[in-house]
Point group: C2
Chain length 437, copies 2
């Protein structure tokens, strides 16, 4: 009873106090925001549609009743009000089927830099196997002193390392080179995720097996129905490649390779072979279908580029992005930048179709081969514009335009490795649209 | 047909090649591990139970069939083989009820340093409300120039920051001071989680409202049935406190405060008020029940300490920990260390009940007010031992023993702020047990 009275007292406080005071409903168009915009950008203040009315803060129902009971044991799920935040398949291809497809991360709804495990993008070649970790075995064989077979419990006894890295499919953006096919940033850039990965350095186990001097490549093969496999240079395996079993603090999800996957930081996602069951060391690459017919890039004069592993520096504005609607006044531009070759050193944004560029702010910590978040405070005057971002990485590489890329490659239809500058147009109604072409 | 043949070829390869070669089943007791142990610790090699047999790697069923189809839109879940990884309620109190309780993070199953959102610990006073973000309002009032009311969409337009921090309940460990009550590290230390938090600095909005010079404290109140509230010094709010709406890349889960919570880095969890609906600025603390009858610490001579906000440096070994079983030979000791007052500067481990201490290895990056993972490679000789860890933070503070804490505080039963060194005993059978008393 004492508690109930106290509760009523406290709840009553807000209502009466707010009624007495001259409170206002608020949005970030007001004082400090404008002051900052003026201080930073020197632009003129704009009307912000600030509501002048409003009076009290009603006591919500949630303050007057018990909530849901706490389960004895549980694994939590998002609020029912967030049910729209999901991975989604492409809406570009009409001939899609269910066992070999993409499922994309909603980048426009991602906060911070970590992609939650439930939203990490997927790319499968033969559906999602449900592998029993107690039955799973991983082998190292071929050009080694001693072939080895590991169970998961063996592997997990080795010293692990934990690192933040992005992962991107080489096909990210392939639908939108020369014409507008996709509406949202989830569809144009959503084969991109970022997580804290935990696993055993491949070098530890190669050291254990003893690499023969003739070994230059390794075949990494998955335990899925497609037996998806890639040839990987031994240098990468000895450098920073990991045998990953966990992401963001828990075991991998089935669709992301449970119980074990290769992880090749900064390289195209298909080399981070999921459901990994063997590494075979050899002298030459295997020239599998996945590295002849697929995962290659057309070049001028009918040639094709093989083994284009590194994901080069890239960025995209996620807020505002395709399908959103903005109002004149202060707009917080936000997006992601990343590079498979190092750290992001800076990001510029353009509000005039790429003629002029301003430096955006990067949020710390900026990590190696990891998503970096940038932001730029802008005042939109209500006139039609085209906005875009441009990343520069620690090697000095500058994200190119599609026109730049056309100078060195044959951009014909749905080709891989699209890291071109990506523009969004904003019309007079404030509607944001894909402006790649 | 071509693809099927290729698949069969590749799958066949492993079987035949492994049959030909002299492969061995493997665990990390072998060469490089022992070499490293010898090199690092200079201890004698021990028998490791290495299997010498085994021959081939059978082709698993998952390589011979299609997996699950990819859903059109989805939010992923853990593998069915990980269903045992759950938050769990305490098993110490028999009089527990369903609306005011704890639900603890399985630290012994956590990989890396990030706690996945589904496993972040919970502490409720009146169950879990399901708040509609469109209806939610947050007010700043009291000793301000201009009271303000924000909707969630207003708030989320402000420049956000994203930071990695641990969160710990002040009651973490309160069942296990003077006698063994809990079996696992989930039960002894699981009111501890770590995430990437995203939100708006409180200072931004206080600047907007205009803090009057007389304002020294603020009442932070939640929208739950208990209207849980705490008085927080204005200095903390202007320093690093955040109005958080997201963790690990997505909106907060209902049980963690959706759609908005206070976040006070390094301070006891109950000050990070969930479902936050107002901040009222005043001259003095409110001396609520949550800061008189609760969340206070008994001291000698019948006194009680109020407002003990900071979570002082602490650590615990999570592998091996209570309920586990180890074998003689190399053991990878792992655990977490954290401090509410800064970074962890080092962690020592003892394998002889605290007489001798060796420095453990810290995994980078070690961040401010964030979980740090430590490891230490040990060779267990099979004799009964007591193991423990001891954290030192960037202020020079050394994690105390329970005996140390008894010198300055009245440790009587279930009291808060237990950051004492926590020992596990290992008997001749390799069983690991809570050895706090």
């Amino acid at each position: 009873m004492q508690t109930d009275k106290k509760l009523a007292d406290i709840a009553g406080l807000v209502k009466s106090e707010l009624q007495q005071s001259q409170s206002i409903t608020h949005d970030p168009g007001r004082r400090s925001m404008l002051t900052r915009s003026l201080a930073v950008a020197g632009t003129a203040a704009v009307s912000t549609g600030l509501a002048s009315a409003s009076t009290e803060l009603p006591i919500p129902e949630s303050n007057k009743s018990l909530g849901r009971a706490i389960p004895e044991a549980t694994y939590g799920m998002p609020s029912k009000y967030e049910a729209h935040v999901q991975r989604r398949r492409t809406d570009v291809f009409v001939n899609k089927q269910n066992f070999s497809d993409w499922s994309m991360t909603p980048l426009h709804q991602q906060q911070g830099t970590i992609t939650p495990n439930g939203l990490i993008f997927e790319r499968h070649h033969a559906g999602i196997p449900d592998i029993d970790p107690e039955q799973h075995r991983f082998a190292i064989h071929g050009l080694v002193e001693q072939p080895l077979v590991f169970s998961m419990s063996d592997l997990m006894k080795y010293p692990s390392v934990t690192r933040f890295h992005f992962m991107e499919c080489s096909g990210n953006g392939l639908t939108d080179w020369l014409e507008v096919k996709s509406k949202t940033v989830q569809q144009t850039h959503g084969l991109l995720s970022c997580a804290q990965w935990t696993g055993v350095p491949v070098s530890t186990l190669l050291d254990e097996a003893g690499v023969l001097p003739t070994a230059k490549w390794a075949l990494a093969e998955g335990g899925d129905g497609a037996a998806h496999a890639r040839s990987i240079p031994i240098e990468k395996l000895l450098d920073d490649a990991l045998l990953v079993y966990a992401s963001n603090g828990e075991m991998l999800r089935p669709e992301n390779g449970y119980p074990l996957r290769m992880f090749t930081p900064g390289w195209e996602g298909n080399t981070s072979v999921k459901w990994l069951r063997r590494l075979k060391l050899g002298e030459e690459p295997w020239h599998l279908r996945s590295e002849t017919a697929r995962y290659t890039d057309p070049m001028p004069e009918g040639k094709w580029r093989q083994f284009s592993f590194e994901m080069e520096a890239k960025s995209v504005i996620t807020t505002p992005s395709g399908g959103m609607n903005i109002k004149p006044g202060p707009v917080e531009i936000m997006g992601f930048a990343w590079s498979g070759n190092g750290k992001i050193s800076n990001v510029d944004v353009s509000m005039d179709g790429g003629r002029n560029w301003q430096e955006a702010q990067l949020e710390e910590p900026v990590l190696d081969k990891c998503l970096a978040r940038f932001r730029y405070r802008w005042n939109w005057d209500g006139n039609p514009v085209q906005i875009a971002s441009r990343a520069v990485d620690s090697t000095g590489y500058v994200q190119p335009t599609v026109e730049d890329l056309k100078q060195t490659r044959a951009i014909t239809g749905f080709v891989q490795h699209h890291n071109g500058i990506f523009p969004w147009s904003i019309n007079e109604a404030g509607e944001v649209n894909n402006a790649i072409a």
